[in-house]
C-alpha cells in the first residue's frame, strides 16, 4: 500500500508534528489550567485517537482502553496547572497514560491474557508476507514481551517518540529505553521469522539466513 496522507489512510498521526503543533498544545494546556473546557475537549480529541489504538492493542479491551484514557485526562484536567512546560505536553500526557496503562496491564487478572507458544507464531508459508498478516502476528508477538518493552515498542514505532521522549514518558534513563527496545527487537525477531526477511525484497529468505547467522 502506498502511503498517501495520514488522514487519507485514516491512521493515527505521528506524535511528533513539529513545533507549531507543540506550541498549540502548550497553549491548550495553559487554557486548560484556567478551566477552559473547549481547550480540554480539543486536547482530548487530539489524544483520543492516538491513545485509543495503542491502548486497545495493549489491553485488547475497549472499555479498559477508554478507562485509561479517561483516567489520564482526569489527571490532565486536575493537574494542568502543574504542567510547567519543561517537557512537551505530549510527553507529560503520555507519561500519565503510561503509568495508568502499566497499572492496568499489571492487574491483568482483570482480563484474559492469551499465552501463546512462541512456535505457534511462526508462519508456515514461504510466501512473502503481507503487511496486514504481519501486523496480526506482530500484535501477538508483542504480547510475549514484558510490559515495559511492549510499551516501548508502541511508543517508538507506533507513536513515533524519540528515545529521549520515551525516557521522559517512562521516567527512566535514555539507556534503559535503548536496552528495552534492544531486547524487544531480539525477541520479536525470534518470534517473527518473517521479519528477518524484511531487508531483502528479493530473494525472499536471504535476510532470514543472515539474521540467523548473526543470532548464533
Amino acid at each position: 500500500m502506498k502511503p498517501t496522507s495520514y488522514s487519507d489512510r485514516g491512521m493515527v498521526e505521528p506524535t511528533y508534528r513539529g513545533s507549531a503543533s507543540v506550541a498549540r498544545e502548550v497553549d491548550l494546556m495553559a487554557r486548560i489550567a484556567n478551566g477552559d473546557r473547549k481547550a480540554f475537549e480539543e486536547l482530548y480529541n487530539l489524544y483520543h485517537r492516538r491513545m485509543a489504538r495503542f491502548l486497545t492493542r495493549l489491553t485488547h479491551r475497549f472499555d479498559l482502553a477508554e478507562e485509561v484514557i479517561n483516567d489520564t485526562f482526569w489527571v490532565v484536567w486536575r493537574k494542568a496547572r502543574d504542567f510547567r512546560g519543561d517537557s512537551q505536553p505530549s510527553t507529560w500526557i503520555l507519561g500519565i497514560a503510561y503509568r495508568k496503562a502499566r497499572n492496568a496491564l499489571r492487574s491483568s487478572a482483570r482480563f484474559g491474557r492469551q499465552n501463546l507458544e512462541a512456535e505457534s507464531l511462526a508462519l508456515t508459508s514461504d510466501e512473502p508476507f503481507r503487511t496486514e498478516e504481519l501486523r496480526d502476528w506482530l500484535e501477538q508477538a508483542l504480547e510475549q514481551l514484558p510490559v515495559e518493552q511492549r510499551l516501548g515498542v508502541e511508543l517508538c514505532y507506533e507513536l513515533g517518540y524519540s528515545c529521549e521522549e520515551i525516557a521522559t514518558i517512562m521516567g527512566c534513563p535514555v539507556n534503559t529505553v535503548k536496552t528495552r527496545l534492544f531486547h524487544a527487537r531480539a525477541k520479536l525477531q525470534k518470534l517473527l521469522p518473517q521479519l528477518a526477511g524484511a531487508g531483502v525484497p528479493a530473494p525472499h529468505g536471504a535476510g532470514r539466513q543472515a539474521a540467523q547467522e548473526r543470532q548464533s
Binding site: 479491551r61 478507562e67 482480563f111 515498542v153 531487508g199 543472515a210
Partner: protein
C-alpha cells in the same frame, strides 16, 4: 577506515529504531548513516525497523469516536458520574425486559461510543486472531441494511474472541459498541447461532427507533 563521525556497530544498532521512525538528532543520524554504509547487518536491521514502523502505523481497522468518551469524562469531572466506571458483574445476563428499547443506556446514543465501527471484513489467512479488522469505516455503509441485531458480550471477553464469535456466525459489526459494550451487528439470521454461545450475554433485534439513533451516531464520525 572508519570516518570519525561514524558510530560503532553496537551504538548504531541501538539507535536504529529511531533512525527508522525519523526521530534521531542530526548528529546521531549522521553517525548512524555513516556506519550503515559499511555494515550490512545494520542495513538489514534498519529495513526491519522500518517495516515495524510501517506495520504498526498501518491504517486503522477501527474507527474511534472520542465524543462519547469525553462526555463520560466530563460527567465524572462534574460529579455526575462515579469516579470510575462501574464494572458489571461478569456472567450476569442482562435480558432486556420486553423490548430491547427499554434497555437503552441513559443519556447517550448507544451507537456512538468509544469505537464507532469495527469492520469485520473478510480476512484471509489463519494469522488473524484478536486484532481488529481493517477498513472499519467502509462497513458503516452496511448500517443501512434493515436487519440489525443488538448484541452484548461478556465484558471480560477479549476483542479477538468476540470477533471470532461473530465471524464464525457469519455476522459483522455495523455499529457500536455503546456505553455498555453493546454492538449492532448484521445479519439478523445470525441470531440463533449467537444466542447459543455462552459468551454472548444476549442478542436482540434492533428497533426502528434505535436504528435512527445509530444513524446519528455514525454521522459523528470524524474524517
Amino acid at each position: 577506515m572508519m570516518a570519525s563521525s561514524s558510530c560503532g556497530h553496537e551504538e548504531c544498532w541501538l539507535l536504529l529504531p529511531w533512525l527508522a521512525n525519523g526521530r534521531l538528532s542530526h548528529a546521531e543520524r549522521a553517525g548512524a548513516e555513516e556506519h550503515l554504509r559499511e555494515c550490512a547487518a545494520c542495513t538489514q536491521e534498519l529495513a526491519r525497523q522500518r517495516l515495524m514502523c510501517q506495520v504498526l502505523t498501518e491504517p486503522e481497522r477501527v474507527t474511534y469516536a472520542p465524543g462519547p468518551s469525553f462526555r463520560k469524562l466530563m460527567e465524572r469531572i462534574d460529579g455526575r458520574a462515579p469516579a470510575r466506571p462501574q464494572e458489571r458483574p461478569l456472567g450476569r445476563r442482562d435480558a432486556p425486559a420486553g423490548r430491547a428499547v427499554a434497555w437503552r443506556p441513559p443519556g447517550l446514543a448507544w451507537a456512538a461510543s468509544f469505537v464507532l465501527a469495527i469492520g469485520l471484513a473478510a480476512f484471509a489467512g489463519t494469522a488473524y486472531r484478536w486484532s481488529l479488522p481493517r477498513y472499519a469505516t467502509h462497513t458503516t455503509a452496511a448500517g443501512g441494511t434493515p436487519g440489525v441485531l443488538h448484541i452484548a458480550f461478556d465484558r471480560s471477553l477479549p476483542v479477538g474472541e468476540m470477533e471470532e464469535i461473530l465471524r464464525s456466525a457469519g455476522a459483522r459489526v455495523v455499529e457500536g459498541p455503546g456505553t455498555t459494550g453493546v454492538f449492532g451487528i448484521a445479519p439478523v439470521t445470525a441470531a440463533a447461532r449467537l444466542r447459543a454461545d455462552p459468551r454472548v450475554r444476549w442478542v436482540e433485534p434492533l428497533t426502528g427507533t434505535e436504528e435512527s439513533q445509530g444513524a446519528q451516531g455514525r454521522r459523528t464520525r470524524e474524517p
